[in-house]
Symmetry: C2
Subunit: 437 residues, 2 copies
């Protein structure tokens, strides 16, 4: 069921098909639904949240139940094992340490020409993190979104996440949020959560930036509110591309492919290898590891539709195909990964060598696991501290400095037909000349 391809042209076609797998003919129809939800939240606030929570999640909530109470937050600590708590704490520490590196810093430069220029970085006032429920209720999602916001020193960070069947939220998610420094959590899911964060309601604060993954309705809602608020990215289903030479271990490669496939029927797992023997061993090992897989049906579906093995002539050819695909995750399971790195142009995160399975990056290596999908690594990057910051340019001219550029500004403003632009400089320089007298 996992196909092996050896022709470059066919490989390119298949990679393009996989890259475009989220293109959805129903999207215009779904967008109309989402637009309606957003409008209702904007106009009716909490009332609309409760309405859609009943309609889509089959949960009847009172307004005062929207926010998760202090006692629920506390109780969550009694529902997770001490091993899990320790693992969450380790992940928080390592993710925080990585994100504290190269945080954007304000700077000012005083020129010899009496011109002061600079950039001043400040955090956003409020950030809203969406944490999916259901199949993808992951404490790691909370950590990877909340820690960068905390490092950016965002004064108010709120989380929304859909309520489960008994109104409850996954306790590991609640513990992870608290360990990452977030106490303000609302049980709201779907497009209604994005609307609440974008416009604000009686209960939920309007935020400046919304981050976090979600299903197609959440993603469409984020696209629609973009411009009213900032967003991290439009996340699609996850994907891994592995480049392996003959020395890679087929058992490990197969496990890495399945670790991607088990996320979602739309997840993609691709192997590019110079060794046709390895290709065949991986195919049979994937079959083997699927036999007793707890998420067998879903994982098989993903492997069947979006799994692919390509045998290539050289590692350089593999890198070139990988650049075409621009994978979210790229594993270089080759003898000299640092040398191959020079050939890689586009990838969200790169895992070098045979002892670096993607899972260490997913959980605790430190770099963010929120990465560009569906080929967007061609132009986008991991979520980071900058997602929650912005900067202002700073400019100060002395009268003399203004005098020096006055003629050039005048010429450009006149060429552009903007007389008051020219005046704003000319009147100051003239005044200055007069006061020089």
């Amino acid at each position: 069921m996992l196909r092996i391809i050896t022709q470059r042209a066919e490989a390119l076609t298949e990679l393009r098909r996989i890259c475009d797998r989220t293109h959805d003919d129903q999207v215009v129809h779904k967008e109309a639904t989402v637009r309606e939800v957003l409008q209702a939240i904007k106009r009716q606030g909490d009332r609309a949240i409760l309405h859609y929570t009943e309609e889509y999640d089959q949960i009847v909530l009172a307004p005062e139940e929207l926010r998760i109470s202090g006692s629920e937050l506390e109780a969550a600590y009694h529902q997770v094992s001490s091993d899990l708590l320790e693992a969450i704490r380790l992940a928080c520490r390592q993710v925080e340490a990585f994100h504290r590196q190269r945080v954007p810093k304000s700077w000012v430069q005083f020129g010899d020409d009496e011109v002061v220029l600079g950039k001043r970085y400040t955090p956003v006032d409020r950030a809203g993190l969406y944490v999916p429920g259901g199949r993808a209720a992951y404490p790691s999602t909370v950590i990877m979104n909340a820690i960068p916001a905390k490092v950016a020193k965002v004064p108010r960070i709120v989380v929304t996440t859909p309520p489960g069947p008994d109104k409850a939220v996954n306790p590991a998610v609640l513990v992870a949020a608290q360990e990452a420094g977030v106490q303000e959590i609302y049980r709201i899911g779907g497009a209604q959560a994005i609307g609440a964060l974008a416009y604000g309601t009686e209960t939920v604060p309007k935020v400046d930036v919304i981050t976090g993954p979600g299903n197609i309705y959440v993603t469409l809602a984020k696209k629609l509110v973009y411009g009213t608020v900032g967003i991290d990215s439009l996340a699609g289903p996850s994907e891994v591309l592995i480049i392996a030479d003959g020395r890679a271990n087929p058992v490990h490669v197969a496990a890495d492919m399945l670790a991607q496939a088990e996320h979602d029927p739309l997840a993609a797992a691709i192997l590019l290898t110079t060794d046709s023997g390895l290709a065949m061993k991986v195919v049979s090992e994937v079959k083997q590891q699927l036999l007793n897989h707890p998420r067998k049906v879903l994982t098989e579906k993903s492997i069947a539709h979006y799994g692919l093995v390509v045998v290539v002539d050289s590692l350089e050819a593999a890198a070139e195909l990988s650049n075409e695909f621009a994978p979210e995750h790229l594993e270089l399971e080759v003898a000299d990964p640092w040398s191959l790195l020079a050939n890689i142009r586009h990838a969200g995160a790169i895992f070098l060598g045979n002892s670096t399975p993607e899972a260490v990056g997913d959980y605790l290596a430190g770099p963010n696991h929120t990465l560009p999908t569906s080929g967007s690594a061609r132009y986008a990057s991991a979520l980071g501290v900058e997602t929650f910051m912005k900067h202002s340019s700073l400019i100060q001219y002395s009268p003399q400095a203004l005098h020096r550029v006055a003629q050039a500004v005048d010429t450009l403003a006149t060429a552009e037909g903007l007389p008051s632009h020219a005046d704003s400089v000319r009147l100051r320089v003239r005044g200055q000349l007069e006061s020089d007298d």
Copy 2:
């Protein structure tokens, strides 16, 4: 016609109205039109470009006329004055010097724990810059978009700009493009240009990032293709907010307000001052300077609808109102602008002191003039070199390092119900233990 307000509550209401001035009930209807244009470009390529250029610009082009020829590019140099050429060159030099500061740099950190982590920055492969025509055909737009792409080392930079009535493009725009290092220019405007850059056609290359301002159709098209390509931002009409104390010069303040208003009937010019005498003088000076203004009708319309003067109790109160508005441009025409800066949280660019009119920043101070509008300075920043770059996270674990975190990864993967994530680590560690024997 320029109103003076003294009540804080009324000022807040007015500022909110001005901030929301681009909310447009026709937007859903316009979006349908834009969606149709984009679909046609995607399916029919050049043929659709030519069709819409005839329909919207009333220009009939042959496919080979889409790209501006070498002789046209050369001829443009004979059509601009030597003063203008010098001013364009000065602007290019200063904008380049500013953008060369703090360009993101790749880094790798080798930990004591046999873990290597890092970030690797690379430019996008191709950038597409949209340069508006008509009322806003500005050489400065080309400079502010092309220079950051050049500093980012983007291998292929293309410009599109709508053809004028005689098929020609503003020669100053053509010269500015060449001085900024761009030779590949297409005479295509509107949503059809954005579609061509996002999907590629027979003539126009598909790019990775599209930047540049435009009318509502261009902005809607950018929002719709976002996700297929990266974009800089959704630009709205321009705005300035000036905070002035009693020592500011009313003639200069009025010229600065008009320099904003003359852009567009939707542009906004706001003055917050502690001095009611200054407020009245500015109002009368605005009237005076409008008398013989070459763009009188348009500028008066902007001042009448979106001009505002607010008298406040203190500079701190002015800063607080300014933060609510989050202006694109903020001028601090006060005695000690650096001290007031501490109270400012959100602004695209800040002009400090009485000798720094916005116009120096618009043209040649160095910082980018492509700035967040309509309150988006709450979460967004100026266009910059980073707009044309992205980074990949780098992670490498040694076998021993993997061994150390294996239990924690296993615990987290198990808590999230992802068995192959756990396997991908477990199988490696087991193998490693065996080979230790």
